[in-house]
């Protein structure tokens, strides 16, 4: 028996009107992503992957077609309803981290809970935020401000924020785009660990080696899905880090 669909796209299209031209950003895409999957959406710039991401993240509505998120038809909802869905169904991780400056890591993680209805008492907010920080291994940095954290740590705070309200779907938009290769692998390690715990993750990236940490790769071009394949030689983040460290040791020994 297949697990339930978290994302169900039925011939979804998105068209923008720029001046006299119509831009077909996404054309007639049909797709299913099930609970527990770890999917990478790849493509060159202009392939429609960002538009796809915005639609999956309920930041944007498709021009035509049907989009079911965790069983809810999100293609015709109002702005306010979309905000509610973003709040408790989706966790976002961005390329630029998008943390609030001059606000502690803990408070950044609490941010989505400020907007949840029914309201969550502040003691519970603290508790849940601490738990989420613990999951990404940053419990002891809760009082640090973003400018006191490294890029990888900031991204992990952002992941904790995305997890705070236990969403059905974790959406990551180029999560390793601003990070060096070792930190990128660390962040992918966090994602793999979360995925092992049953969290569904969809990630947009243009780096093939990063996509190889996922379980399924969807490649887009000109607004269409051109390939949709499972990852054959899946990389494991802890192993890769191990390899990196050994290589470094070897360099130190030879020099």
């Amino acid at each position: 028996m297949t697990p339930p669909s978290i994302i169900h796209l039925d011939s979804v299209s998105k068209t923008y009107q720029t001046g006299e031209f119509q831009v077909h950003a996404v054309r007639n895409v049909s797709l299913d992503i099930h609970a527990g999957e770890f999917v990478a959406i790849m493509g060159a710039s202009g392939s429609g992957k960002s538009t796809m991401m915005n639609m999956l993240g309920c930041l944007d509505r498709p021009t035509s077609g049907k989009f079911l998120l965790d069983g809810i038809d999100a293609s015709k909802l109002s702005r306010n309803k979309l905000a509610e869905i973003r709040n408790h169904k989706i966790g976002f991780v961005f390329q630029g981290f998008n943390l609030l400056a001059r606000t502690s890591a803990l408070e950044n993680v609490e941010l989505p809970m400020l907007y949840s209805r029914p309201a969550i008492p502040s003691s519970e907010q603290h508790e849940r935020a601490r738990k989420a920080l613990d999951m990404v291994g940053l419990a002891q940095r809760a009082d640090h401000h973003p400018n006191q954290l490294s890029g990888g740590q900031q991204q992990r705070v952002a992941i904790a924020r995305a997890l705070a309200l236990t969403p059905a779907l974790l959406l990551a938009d180029e999560p390793t785009g601003n990070l060096d290769s070792r930190t990128s692998i660390e962040v992918m390690g966090v994602f793999q660990k979360l995925n092992d715990q049953g969290i569904t993750i969809v990630m947009v990236t243009h780096e093939l080696d990063i996509a190889n940490y996922t379980k399924r790769v969807i490649v887009m071009r000109d607004g269409r899905v051109i390939t949709d394949t499972p990852v054959a030689n899946r990389l494991s983040a802890p192993e890769e880090i191990e390899k990196l460290e050994q290589e470094q040791k070897a360099i130190q020994l030879t020099s």
């Binding site: 915005n54 306010n80 905000a83 509610e84 709040n87 998008n98 941010l111 907007y115 309201a119 924020r161």
Partner: protein, 405 residues
């Protein structure tokens, strides 16, 4: 989002830019402070005028003699004496609801006592005049109705006059010379202070009107009479009776203008306070302009703040903030600015008016109404000028806001 959480976020955001926050607030502080100070100056003036009018006596009616036209030019009321002694006695006898009546024969004269002398105003009145004006006699007593009938040379003197002529000495029983006629001082009046026009009311000598007319002015008619009615309710009735009676006595045809004027104290006080009301309004209006400018300052800063924090708005929206959440956040910030500014402004305004009254002796009156209105107005300014920027923030598209650099 709960109101407490919104408030916390708003205060945080304002704290981050303390200098900007305080400068923006300063606009409202000055505006509210100016309104409070100006209105209390205006109200102070008004209440002073009211007190002075109450000082004139209670339930009084003024009868002034005619508006005489000379060659088509109105000479104004009191320019000519159309009120006769017979008018006086017939009003006294025939008008119902009247307690006392007194003419006012005014004249300026040199008064001397011993080796002191001064120029003062002489007031020829009846024996009841001090009662009509609720003007207490401090030492001695008023002259009697017999003194008035006989035209005796007796006088009551004002406090200032007494001090100038006799120093600390008891003036009762002393002789003063008015235009060289010797008058016996029978009483000294209590202090009444400045009049509305700023002259010293205590610089006065009161003598029986009969004596004043025969010995001092030589006039045969009165320029004005002061009447006291039994109660405030009787004022209009007494006023009408006097008008009727005088028209009859002066043989005026229907349609012909009065050659006298009858005014109740309420009418006089209304006229005087309406002037000060206009002044209060004008001062308040001018001060409100600065409050308006302060409000525009808030709007300006909020617009800048929305633009600066576009990315923050995008993040908040991405994690589930609705348009209304964002709108509340910015609206609360604007209202917090204006209300805090308003409270400080009220303190400033009250402080200024207290300073003015203590250091410069200006009468000021800060009413709780004006404080309440200023507070409500500052909150309204925050809502009004905060609404547009807040709505602008709420209507941002989350995708664009997230991409904003």
């Amino acid at each position: 989002m709960r109101i407490f959480a919104i408030g916390k976020v708003a205060v945080r955001a304002l704290q981050k830019n303390l200098l900007r926050t305080s400068l923006t607030m300063l606009g409202i502080i000055i505006g509210v402070g100016a309104v409070i100070a100006m209105v209390s100056i205006g109200n102070g003036a008004k209440s002073q005028i009211e007190a002075q009018i109450a000082n004139l006596g209670q339930n009084n009616i003024m009868v002034m003699s005619g508006n005489v036209r000379r060659g088509g030019v109105g000479m104004g009321f009191g320019s000519s004496g159309t009120l006769t002694k017979e008018d006086l006695t017939s009003i006294e006898k025939e008008v119902i609801g009247l307690v006392a009546i007194s003419p006012e024969v005014r004249s300026g004269a040199q008064v001397a006592a011993g080796n002191q002398n001064l120029q003062t105003s002489i007031l020829g009145v009846s024996a009841e005049y001090t009662e009509i004006r609720s003007w207490p006699i401090e030492i001695g007593s008023s002259f009697s109705p017999q003194d008035v009938k006989a035209g005796n040379k007796v006088a009551i003197i004002g406090k200032t006059t007494a001090k100038q002529l006799f120093g600390e000495e008891d003036p009762v029983g002393q002789i003063i010379r008015i235009k060289n006629a010797p008058f016996v001082v029978v009483g000294q009046l209590g202090g009444k202070g400045m009049s509305m026009m700023g002259s010293d009311q205590d610089d006065v000598v009161m003598v029986p009107w009969t004596s004043a007319m025969t010995r001092l002015t030589g006039a045969t008619t009165f320029r004005s009479l002061t009447v006291q009615a039994t109660s405030g309710d009787a004022l209009t009735d007494v006023q009408n009776q006097i008008s009727e009676l005088l028209r009859q006595r002066h043989k005026l045809q229907p349609g012909q203008d009065d050659d006298f004027m009858v005014r109740t104290q309420t009418e006089i006080s209304d006229a005087a306070t309406s002037t000060s009301k206009t002044m209060t309004l004008l001062l308040g209006a001018i001060a409100s302009v600065s409050l308006l400018v302060g409000g525009i300052g808030i709007m300006n800063i909020m617009l800048v703040s929305v633009t600066e924090r576009t990315r923050e708005i995008g993040i908040r929206m991405a994690v589930g903030a609705k348009g209304s959440d964002i709108m509340w956040q910015f609206l609360v910030e604007a209202v917090f600015l204006s209300v805090t500014g308003g409270i400080i402004g009220i303190a400033l305004g009250v402080g200024i008016s207290m300073l003015l009254s203590s250091k410069m002796n200006w009468p000021t009156l800060t009413s709780s109404t004006s404080i309440g209105v200023a507070f409500a107005f500052s909150a309204a300014v925050g809502i009004f000028f905060g609404f547009y920027p807040a709505r602008k923030a709420a209507q941002l598209d989350p995708i664009d806001a997230l991409r904003y650099e």
